[in-house]
Symmetry: C2
């Protein structure tokens, strides 16, 4: 008899029939003798509607009140899910984040979980109940409603699994698991049976939109093994866990292509100490998230100068250009070049650590495809290159074929 935490996202509970499907799945696990804690998101569309209502009243609503508002979405789902379990004869009780003992800090709309008191959940499980917990939400020690921000329901599930010492944590979503590449682009992509936290983190930050990084980081920190799987079928999904020796036998776990980046190049920046700091501090102050940064010596005449390139999300490009233009008088550079039609192609795998020549092989494959590399950035388990967006998908297929088979 295992204790299982099962998390269902917004599309999995998107209407009464889907909620009934969730209940049927939970019932099968309970019939097998397991204790089940269910974490649910708001029904798909509900959160967006609430945000729309708020914006009709005020363009920038108070974050405290947004939390009071948005928390109703998950509260609606827990009640309906409990009813669906009752309808098929199970004992079930819903709990809001606060009722489930999820204490957070007071940073509204992106609160951090500080502590979970799982006493009430244990008590209900002992009583034979299925416990349904509202994802995405918690309460501060002085009784304010908070929400956890994007990916918050995954975080609730993983934090609950850690706190309850659950045997298994299942993240049900609308994809089958984690793939070696996006199957819509690379038809030969395969579902992975397992992946390490670090690989999952790299993929999450590289545009593979299965999960937010913070949930994976939390799972890694507390050693929560979890499975990403589909709520539409019974196929096994992908197990995410600490890296094992055997994982290193696979050089590359996956390939990703992020089409959502833009590149900014500052040409002939004076080669002086503190210049880069000034640039990236200004971008940070404007809450612009900079991803890759590359600096190279510029071979012009005159004073020593350098070219600095960096990438940001496309949505932040205009804002970033404004910030940079504002620095022109104080920093002094000859030109700013922005490029939107770029793609960031990455390969990820813990096996890189023990295999040499991985970068060389990737660059060779790209050269054979006639793809020019504009920027390179590497970590211990990842190599990313910025290339022409138009050649992105072909390059991805070629790299996937070379490392993971066609």
């Amino acid at each position: 008899m295992a204790l299982i935490v099962q998390k269902f996202g917004g599309t999995s509970v998107g209407n009464p029939d889907r909620i009934k499907n969730v209940a049927a799945r939970v019932a099968r696990y309970q019939a097998d003798g397991h204790r089940v804690v269910v974490v649910v998101s708001a029904m798909s569309g509900v959160t967006d509607n609430l945000i729309k209502l708020a914006k009709e009243i005020m363009p920038l609503p108070s974050e405290r009140e947004m939390d009071v508002l948005l928390a109703t979405g998950e509260q609606t789902t827990i009640a309906l899910t409990a009813m669906a379990l009752h309808a098929i004869g199970l004992k079930a009780m819903s709990l809001t984040g606060a009722q489930a003992g999820i204490l957070t800090d007071g940073v509204h709309t992106k609160a951090k979980i500080q502590n979970i008191t799982p006493k009430r959940i244990h008590h209900l499980l002992d009583d034979g109940q299925v416990v349904i917990v509202a994802g995405f939400q918690g309460e501060t020690p002085d009784g304010q409603i908070t929400t956890l921000g994007r990916g918050g329901s995954d975080l609730t599930a993983i934090a609950l699994a850690a706190s309850l010492k659950a045997d298994l944590c299942q993240i049900y979503t609308d994809v089958d698991g984690v793939y070696t590449a996006d199957p819509r682009i690379v038809p030969t992509a395969r579902k992975l049976a397992e992946i390490s936290y670090d690989e999952m983190l790299e993929l999450a930050s590289l545009g593979a939109k299965v999960m937010q990084s913070r949930s994976v980081e939390f799972a890694k920190k507390f050693g929560v093994v979890f499975e990403v799987r589909s709520s539409l079928n019974d196929n096994p999904g992908t197990i995410v866990k600490e890296e094992t020796r055997s994982m290193e036998d696979v050089v590359i776990r996956g390939v990703s292509l992020d089409k959502n980046q833009a590149k900014v190049t500052l040409v002939r920046v004076p080669d002086q100490p503190g210049v880069a700091a000034r640039i990236f501090k200004a971008l940070g102050d404007a809450t612009i998230n900079v991803d890759m940064i590359v600096q190279n010596v510029s071979h012009g005449s005159g004073k020593p100068a350098t070219d600095i390139s960096f990438t940001v999300e496309k949505a932040d490009l205009l804002k970033a250009q404004k910030v940079i233009e504002g620095l022109r008088p104080s920093v002094g550079f000859s030109e700013v070049i922005a490029a939107e039609k770029i793609g960031k192609l990455s390969i990820v795998g813990v096996g890189m650590k023990s295999h040499s020549g991985v970068a060389g092989k990737m660059f060779d494959v790209l050269a054979q495809e006639g793809v020019n590399i504009e920027m390179i950035s590497t970590s211990e388990i990842k190599i990313s290159v910025v290339i022409d967006l138009a050649k992105g998908e072909a390059a991805m297929k070629a790299v996937h074929g070379a490392f993971l088979g066609t």
Copy 2:
């Protein structure tokens, strides 16, 4: 500087524009130096939609989970109302029923308020905030979400006014106040400047749908003076308060017509002790609410027998007939007659206590109109008659004219 509790019902907060109107009204009171606590209902339609969702999952959902579900309606409104106040520059904070310190018993879907701890509200008022409290909901001492049932938001407002020792409690609704009769039926009906709790209670139970009886009872018990007024204009409404000597100068406060009753008559019931008890206990056990009861001697031949008539809500008529048929073998009566096309016409006024001849005058007016009286029931401040539904409105106009002017 007064402390005012203002309650706005579902239509008054039915969309973002109306919520902005509520905020503008609150702002005017605050600008006049008053401290304001706002109680809001769910936006109109929201509660019905939630009930519909629940019924799609299960015909008879758990009452505990219904409370978790329905409480989201008011929680949505408090957040939006707080935002609307922020948008016009006021300090405002929303509180759920639990956060506002509203403790109830554990009778889900119709909980009773047991205690209010207004510390948090006082603290926020001291800080210059407008406090917005979710109506209709509370929390049990062990942290279960409860709702107060029909008219629950009015109850929240009146209970808060009592607990906060508010100077004024305003119930904003879509009517201008309490009228001498329904103006849609009696065009000469007038808005009352004031009315006693008891008169309001009689009118509430007689089909004048301004407020539920339990809120008025609560106000009477705790001496909360409140005003029923419109959220669509600035006209003064009707003050509801303890009866004063001057109120008795008016013989009749109002006339009401309840078209929603049905009549059941048991013919030739054996005239034995305990028979009536058996009949009405059986109806009570089936949770059928019996309104008027009239018993008369039956002048037939044979054993002593009596006719018993009673009225129930039309929706309960079939159920009542079934219960009565089930009693036929044990009680023994010759016939059951059901009549749906009846109306209950009532006159209400504390002045009746000190004026004689009121009933005679009412019956005389009805006789002149050619209206036959089928049943009569009286209390200290009310006279009700059951008449033919087809003659109901004409009879109402005639009685209103005789007592309250045309």
